[in-house]
Symmetry: C3
Subunit: 213 residues, 3 copies
């Protein structure tokens, strides 16, 4: 799926696993916080981890889905759900906020880059490609929040998140337009997304909000 | 759509009609409970009856949708909406909880089996096939609840529902792997789903819930 | 996308722009009312403007999406988002309710007609074509409301809105069945939808609501 072909595939795979697990964990914790049962918690883990990429694949009309082509990812998330449920029950799941934020920022960067790349492969206009990148990175979390009957964090949190993804998406377009090698374009995009996200967290940047004038 | 070919097609059709109407009715009642207007109530009936199968068909990239191929099902649900609206208005729609639960359990069993079968026909891995079965059986109700601005019952009810569908899905996989005839596999799957659901209701089984540890 | 070929294409384009902008504005205002940030507000603008047509295209398995084929529409909505955000911030966005209602009614009429036409081109049964028209016209607003964590206005507002779309959808079918020219069928459908919507607003018609009997 993420065929940044000249990357070390092992490195890419490690990043992909970290990002997917971070996203899944955010869903599992949201389900537990809302007192869901084991089915609900697992669905939220799947929605958060695979929802954005699945929506992108539906919009791009790509089959098989990446979690069908790499079915071990599916088993990985199932395993994480089981493990997290056991640890939660034992009161032993203490995940540092910082660890989650870093893993989530990495996942966001990778997912945005993979979404932009998939859309460019499908020869879509650049503005649509950036949209697809943001959909891939952000809409898993949006589905997670809607399934919890909450307003999506990504829409109303006022901390830059999707905005970092938009930046990273345009970074991909820029690198591609400059004719850089594929691995460099991907790395530049991920660094832009993940870096700006981590800076935003560190310095507590805020987006303004709006009311009806 | 449900080509369990060696079943008596009439029996299958009767079960399909009962299941679809039970699902549609759950949507109609949810809409009325939320004081929706005639359009909202009808949309909820459609979402509950056809939402899960439609999502499965979108994910599997199957066209035409089953409610296009069997357009009389659509008319049936439209007719049910009109009938239910008239009866509700006259204060004469008294549906026994027990009747709904039985019909709903039958529908769940059939929808799960049909979803697994459709995914196996599309040559998907077995774990994905079970997921598709659960999506077919459960996500119509999830869409119904999201449209009512409620947390989906299937995620937080703590009564086994989707879990019964997962059981029935793996029962399908088991029967198929053992090389049983198509009608027997389908029957075994439906019996597992519907039977475990009815047992769970009779003995009031509960799923544990989770909080953040 | 809306190839009512013998229409003056300019007139059609003007109506399409007005309708799209009216729908986008409804999303932008909803996001601002819910104190979303710039990303959330923009997503709501996109969902309201393009959500219904995108869902229709997914259901009909049509690619490219109309906002990919006519990518200038996407830029138009991006521009509107930027402009509206600036004006909102300056406290200078005073849009008359009446202007919005007229533009929205025009958009609804056009979107319903375009949805019915697309479904008929895909050779779907007439009842499915009317459904696709209503999905095109109404589900952008439904997605907007779900993303705001509100019950969809179209389901519970008790003012005829989707019902006007259904009327206009069947008007399209009638005109088509009578063998009228394409431009006349489209015009008749739009006039039915938009006209009945404006009459309903003027005379404050209400749909009855329902409770569980």
């Amino acid at each position: 799926m993420y065929d940044f072909s000249t990357w070390g595939p092992t490195l890419r795979y490690v990043v992909e696993v970290i990002g997917t697990l971070a996203f899944a964990l955010s869903g599992i914790l949201a389900g537990a916080r809302n007192h869901m049962d084991i089915f609900g918690i697992s669905v939220l883990g799947f929605l958060a981890a695979f929802g954005g990429g699945t929506l992108r694949d539906v919009l791009l009309d790509r089959r098989p889905f990446f979690w069908v082509a790499e079915v071990e990812m599916l088993w990985l998330v199932i395993g994480l759900c089981v493990l997290a449920l056991v640890l939660l029950r034992l009161g032993r799941l203490h995940v540092g906020d910082k660890a989650i934020q870093w893993a989530d920022a990495l996942g966001l960067g990778l997912f945005v880059a993979s979404g932009v790349q998939a859309a460019l492969v499908a020869q879509l206009p650049v503005v649509v490609a950036v949209m697809m990148g943001v959909v891939t990175g952000v809409f898993g979390g949006v589905m997670r929040d809607i399934a919890c009957n909450e307003m999506p964090t990504a829409f109303a949190d006022h901390r830059p998140y999707a905005v970092c993804g938009i930046l990273g998406g345009w970074a991909y377009i820029l690198g591609d337009w400059l004719g850089w090698a594929g691995w460099l374009v991907a790395l530049f995009s991920i660094a832009s997304t993940t870096g700006s996200r981590l800076l935003a967290l560190k310095f507590d940047w805020r987006l303004p909000d709006w009311r009806n004038g």
